[in-house]
């Protein structure tokens, strides 16, 4: 029975207040009643907090909860998110939830909390010292905006270590030195740390937004993430009155735009009808009260490179010429306005969908204003940019113009040849909806942007962007419903002439994304690990085919399923994201959240809830109430040190071995009496859809007894273990083959360690062999790889 009494998480068993069990969420309540509940939101949130605090059976000294934010749904539920605290400091990645219903019933959910988060001692470093460490680590070329520093309790299970970067052009992995951190996992389960956010908008670094976790005792960098998710008394910006204008976008065509007429009678692209609270970045860092969605352009004159300029001062409320952007210096004229029309319209439409369909005022439910900036450039080269981004700290979206050119000749006045594989302006409607929806996730679930939670973060934006596209095609007057048509289920289908950015129906069509969940999915870049949830949403909305010839067929649900329509599927996802998910939510947990949402909206035994179970099963996610699935799993190799990983992460299973040495590969089969496996190895992926098709070139083969001789080539190799009983179930592991022959005497041994010392932290290697994986420099990561490879290969017990 689905109820609000969650399973225990360590010491947190959180329960229900006031005996009645919660049932299905009620329909939307009358607006005056909603306003009354909204007005009492602080008191209701406080009640939820009191309930959550009282429900803890044996809190540790100093353990607490603090309200992060709250919003009230149209059904009259106030959703309260709690930060877990210790001695008043936030526990990173931990989040509790409270639901206060319209009738006052309270349920609290603790599955996002982390038990026993009590670090020892006190910080040795100051916040200023942590800030200095972060700035030194990032090595920025220009001056950043003032960093934000917060002391936190950091669960060391979330620490990073070695990171791998996927090169789609070669379909292979390499060591990612940008995001690898060598701090090493502290032995304690929780430590004091500082969360330092460093963000820039300058000519030297461009737009960056990085988050580092610094160990408050040692100063080591424990985690490194991007906050950029890629698609006076303060001066009041562009005061005036709302006015309707006309725009001609490249993608949206001729549209009505919500603008502002200034006091002097001129018009500007500020929409005062959407956004009632000022943008926090502009208020804090520019001393500007920016209220109402506003679209800017980026200046590219040498003296003002990177500065923002308003689209304003026009005597006629007419914007854009509908044609692709020509290039500098047209950013501010009619041609440059075209991208602004698409962006401005897309942001407004997304805002309307949140408001009219889901009952939410903006990203945070309070109407805080985001902004859009078009024509952004690559800060290093000054060239056009093939991406769009959302920044949490800047609270805005940034759109590149794209590098597309129909052939490889030189475009007029361009020093670079044309790029037929590039993109056009990244202001297409679904991309605009995608980017703005990162702000929605930031304000609610806060899904951490790496691993499975990162893939879910990206999937959520793809889902929202797709729904915006459908919403744009709704019948007139039906503003509160998302139609079942109107989207092509392709992300950015018109942005890149060579093909869309992603395929929701069959993600693997891009040869990069996964179709289904498997152990090992979490190593993928988040834009590719989003594939399974994208596909799940498609199945939920539109169904799956029973025909193996159809691209929507699933081997995990061979009989297919019926969809429930875009509107119902969207409501389930929105509710799951905003009311149930937390920063560390995994695919399995996301499925649980979707079932919770479906049960509340339509009933636990409803066809909609069953459709959720079917859709999850179709992407190989174990769903409550469905048959237990066979699973394949690799053993954990290491769980600490520089290369240590959370046992749930793929790097905890990574083996480091010297080239040409014998390796024994083992994997376990769970939930099946037949534990036989088939093992395959490949140098790189033939297709991402089927890791088992990994290209065996240069990789050799795994023998029946699991032994494999690492080839005489350094690099990552994919190892796949399939269940013989259920071949559609598999796990993917990795082996990093290194060349220990640092002294180049054709023999790998511990004597080679000495050669590494000659190049250690010199800035470049004296000889390439000094790095075991051929890196440009030699540092402690290389030292660790040497040690671990020797230990793996020649550790006699």
């Amino acid at each position: 029975m689905r109820n609000a009494l969650r399973r225990a998480v360590g010491g947190f068993v959180l329960g229900i207040v006031a005996g009645a069990l919660p049932g299905m969420a009620a329909a939307p309540i009358p607006h005056p009643q909603w306003l009354a509940l909204k007005a009492r939101e602080p008191q209701r949130a406080a009640s939820a907090l009191a309930t959550a605090l009282a429900a803890r059976p044996a809190p540790l000294p100093g353990e607490g909860l603090a309200i992060r934010n709250a919003f009230t749904t149209r059904e009259g539920r106030t959703v309260v998110r709690f930060d877990q605290t210790q001695a008043g400091f936030r526990v990173y990645g931990a989040m509790g939830l409270g639901h206060v219903e319209a009738d006052g019933r309270i349920t609290v959910h603790g599955k996002g909390l982390l038990p026993g988060a009590v670090p020892q001692g006190v910080p040795s470093l100051s916040a200023d010292q942590a800030k200095a460490i972060a700035l030194s680590h990032l090595g920025l070329k220009g001056r950043p905006l003032p960093p934000k520093v917060e002391q936190v309790v950091f669960p060391t299970a979330l620490a990073d270590g070695l990171k791998a970067a996927y090169d789609p052009s070669t379909r292979s992995l390499s060591v990612d030195r940008t995001y690898s951190v060598l701090g090493g996992r502290p032995a304690a389960a929780h430590v004091w740390a500082y969360q330092v956010d460093v963000f820039t908008r300058n000519a030297e670094d461009g737009i960056t937004d990085m988050r580092l976790i610094i160990d408050a005792a040692t100063g080591a960098v424990l985690k490194k993430l991007t906050n950029l998710q890629t698609q006076a008394a303060p001066e009041v910006l562009l005061p005036g009155t709302p006015a309707k204008g006309s725009g001609m976008g490249q993608y949206v065509g001729n549209v009505t735009l919500d603008t502002t007429q200034a006091e002097d009678g001129t018009f500007g692209l500020r929409d005062g009808t959407r956004g009632s609270l000022p943008n926090p970045y502009f208020l804090a860092y520019e001393n500007i009260d920016l209220t109402g969605i506003t679209t800017f352009w980026e200046i590219h004159t040498p003296e003002n490179w990177g500065w923002l300029s308003l689209y304003a001062g026009k005597t006629a409320n007419l914007w854009g010429d509908g044609f692709p952007f020509m290039d500098f210096p047209h950013e501010g004229d009619g041609n440059g306005e075209t991208a602004a029309v698409d962006a401005h319209f897309g942001l407004g439409l997304t805002w309307d969908m949140y408001r009219n369909v889901f009952g939410r005022e903006g990203l945070d439910g309070e109407g805080t204003t985001p902004f859009a900036q078009v024509h952004i450039r690559n800060p290093g080269t000054g060239m056009k940019f093939d991406n769009a981004m959302w920044s949490n700290n800047l609270y805005g979206m940034f759109f590149g113009d794209g590098t597309y050119y129909p052939d490889t000749t030189f475009p007029p006045d361009s020093p670079m040849p044309g790029n037929p594989m590039g993109m056009m302006s990244l202001t297409e409607l679904d991309i605009a909806g995608h980017e703005l929806s990162h702000g929605l996730t930031f304000s609610t679930a806060g899904l951490i942007y790496s691993g499975e939670s990162g893939g879910l973060n990206e999937a959520s934006s793809d889902i929202m962007g797709t729904l915006v596209e459908a919403y744009a095609n709704r019948p007139a007057g039906q503003d509160d419903t998302i139609p079942d048509y109107g989207t092509d289920w392709l992300m950015g289908s018109r942005t890149r002439p060579s093909g869309p950015l992603r395929y929701m129906r069959k993600p693997s069509r891009d040869h990069l994304s996964a179709d289904n969940w498997y152990e090992g999915l979490d190593w993928m870049e988040v834009h590719y690990s989003s594939g399974p949830m994208n596909r799940c949403f498609y199945y939920l909305a539109q169904g799956a085919s029973a025909s193996v010839l159809d691209e929507t067929h699933s081997d995990y649900l061979p009989g297919g399923m019926d969809g429930i329509g875009n509107d119902k599927a969207g409501r389930i996802w929105f509710k799951a994201l905003t009311e149930f998910m937390t920063p560390t939510t995994t695919y399995v947990q996301a499925g649980e959240c979707m079932l919770e949402a479906a049960a509340e909206l339509y009933g636990a035994a409803s066809p909609e809830a069953q459709a959720v179970r079917n859709a999850l099963t179709a992407i190989n996610v174990q769903a409550e109430g469905m048959p237990l699935l066979t699973r394949v799993t690799f053993p954990v190799v290491h769980s600490g040190g520089v290369l240590g990983g959370d046992p749930g992460e793929f790097l905890s299973r990574l083996k480091i071995v010297p080239q040409g040495t014998a390796v024994t590969v083992t994997a376990a089969v769970l939930n099946n009496a037949d534990t036989a496996i088939t093992l395959k190895v490949g140098a790189h992926r033939a297709t991402i859809a089927s890791p088992v098709d990994a290209d065996p070139t240069e990789a050799g083969t795994v023998n029946g007894d699991g032994t494999w001789t690492a080839p005489l080539r350094q690099g990552f190799f994919f190892i796949t273990a399939l269940s013989k009983a259920r071949p559609e179930q598999f796990a993917e592991g990795l082996v990093l083959v290194v060349n220990l022959d640092a002294d180049a005497d054709n023999e790998q041994d511990a004597v080679d360690l000495g050669a590494a010392a000659f190049s250690w932290y010199l800035g470049q290697t004296l000889r390439p062999t000094h790095s075991p994986y051929g890196g440009y420099t030699v540092d402690d990561l290389d030292v660790q790889l040497f040690q671990e490879a020797i230990q793996t290969a020649w550790n006699q017990k």
Binding site: G641, D749, G754
Partner: protein
């Protein structure tokens, strides 16, 4: 004790033979003696050598690597191949050697704004390769650390008698313990200010390590 027994027995046998010619006395025969211990003779010379440590036991040889007097270097590595009757011993932390603290293995002047990882990886590793060969490396990674005198033990290893394999050998047999490769990082590794100088001197130097005789007893 065994030696003493044999000594006592021999005169008794002689007396019996001398006294009892034609008598009916007899001596029970026994099987071949299985080796149960190791004897090590330190090598001669004053260069790099493996010398026996006082903590050795009859079945375990504990050997210290000592360098020549007057030499300074920045670390040493070697491969030591042993006969099958010997087994290299893991001495702690999964390593087959103990660092005696002569060399400075860590970052000697860490940047407080970029502190080393914790635990800090160091250039010290051991393994036993196929063919019963110990491979060992112990080096200073930070060129800012000065070279160290090596005339005291720099590291310690240990080998045990493998009784099962030794049973095929006779008491008194010598067993092989051979250095197949040995190198040091020399004192002069070039001036940081000159890439040309550093590149020219980025080479380890071959050395000879003398190993004493190992006998089964």
């Amino acid at each position: 004790m065994r030696n003493r027994f044999v000594t006592f027995l021999f005169p008794a046998l002689v007396a019996a033979l001398l006294i009892g010619c034609g008598g009916s006395s007899s001596v029970a025969t026994s099987g071949p003696v299985v080796p149960s211990g190791l004897t090590y003779t330190d090598p001669a010379g004053s260069g790099w050598r493996l010398v026996k440590d006082a903590s050795s036991t009859p079945t375990r040889l504990v050997l210290n690597l000592v360098g020549p007097s007057g030499l300074k270097c920045r670390g040493v590595g070697f491969n030591l191949k042993a006969a099958g009757a010997l087994r290299f011993v893991a001495l702690g932390n999964g390593l087959h050697a103990v660092d005696r603290g002569v060399f400075e293995l860590k970052n000697v002047a860490p940047d407080p704004l970029n502190p080393p990882p914790s635990p800090e990886p160091v250039l010290f590793a051991t393994g036993v390769k196929p063919g019963n060969m110990l491979t060992l490396g112990l080096f200073q990674k930070d060129r800012r650390a000065t070279a160290k005198a090596v005339d005291a033990p720099v590291l310690t290893i240990a080998v045990d008698l493998d009784p099962a394999r030794a049973s095929a050998l006779a008491v008194g047999s010598t067993v092989a313990l051979d250095i197949t490769k040995a190198r040091i990082i020399p004192e002069d590794i070039g001036s940081v200010g000159s890439m040309v100088d550093m590149m020219a001197k980025a080479q380890m130097v071959d050395i000879q390590i003398a190993v004493g005789g190992v006998t089964l007893n």
